[in-house]
Symmetry: C2
Subunit: 223 residues, 2 copies
Amino acid sequence: MPSDQTRTAILAAAERLYADRGFGDVTLRDIVAAAGVNLAAVNYHFGSKDELIAELFVTRSIATNRERLNELKAAEEKGGGRADIDAILRALVGPTLRGCLGPDRERSTAARFMIRASIESVPPIRRIKNREVDHLRKFVAAMRRSLPDRGEVDLYWGLHFALAMAHHTIRESERLARLSDGKCDLNDVAGIIERIVAVSVMALTGGAAEKKPAAKLVARDAR
Amino acid sequence: MPSDQTRTAILAAAERLYADRGFGDVTLRDIVAAAGVNLAAVNYHFGSKDELIAELFVTRSIATNRERLNELKAAEEKGGGRADIDAILRALVGPTLRGCLGPDRERSTAARFMIRASIESVPPIRRIKNREVDHLRKFVAAMRRSLPDRGEVDLYWGLHFALAMAHHTIRESERLARLSDGKCDLNDVAGIIERIVAVSVMALTGGAAEKKPAAKLVARDAR
DNA sequence: TTGCATTTCAAACACTTGTATGAAACTATC
DNA sequence: GATAGTTTCATACAAGTGTTTGAAATGCAA
């Protein structure tokens, strides 16, 4: 059995560099330099640059999806097969937001890499990404169980908007900070999640307060 | 005065190619081939590839911003200096959505180019893009006039979410179509705009129906 | 037409990219 | 300890990039 410390060093360095600087301007030479290995090691261990990216993406993709589904399943079991809509949405956007935002960006490399992958859309990733709809369908199903009276199309749009707010918040966090002169606290990840979930719930329920007391719907104007 | 048909041919070809395929994989040779001009013409007329991109971006940027501000000003004048919040948001997201979505993608090249620019974040654009916050501040000011009781931070988040939904809808329109098996009609641009505006208004007003009858807040389940 | 500035063109330049090669170093089995 | 398989390494390669060059072509005033 081969010692794969070179392999993992390449994977770690590549993920960090891609997360920080994007796929566009990270070369194989940058990666091997950061990993402290030889240039030819990438092609030896992975075959090509694209296969390296693909392996990176599939690994993180199933990890993120599992994290989401675990939260979803926990919420559904607690509710006896029918989770509250806000819990479903929290399971959808929570993992990514917690991974990408907040002060502890140390182990957030994976999440930041996934955001890069969702933004830049490089060929090897685009091919894989089509399976993601199957993953999202599970959330649509859970939402349908939670809101059986809502129309199908509204559910799709609600899920779409929830992802929109989550991803856009991650991508444009600095612009929001500058626009608001720092008044929008982007380190308060829990607060951001609640904000996005609250808006998504309103989008899905038409603004009328539902069965739950809707605790977090009030404006939070810290600082 | 020089005949600038070569210049404009380059600009048109570059904008179309960038809009269609992104900055990443469009070379100068692709551009000059599409424009039917010589390779050296780009450097002769623009100095460098980055300056070509920058000129493209600033031109479209001020055009889009003007379109937005015209709608905003019209709404504010109609309301005697204080526009309804939904009119403000419509002025913010309407122009871009109308340009990028819908069946007539012929003259939407400009809007699609702007979306590319907002996604890929290539260096020459990133430098210019910082001025956009000044443009957005005008919308924050209008929102403050329209909703004087709302907290500052809520206004920023509301504007942020509105842009999030608009941009994400443009970027991931095909995924939404596939996820919903075509049930989400992405050719109904006016309906999409109203949907986004409605959710944004709810995000800003906390879900309670305000002074206006909130006409469009009901779910639309066409098809 | 002559002369001069502007614009076009083919060709080459310098550089970076991902990939391939073949020898060297290493590892573990017999 | 010899040998076969695996891994590393320096180096080279082919292709593609933006840019530059200097001459040819063009347009336009005197």
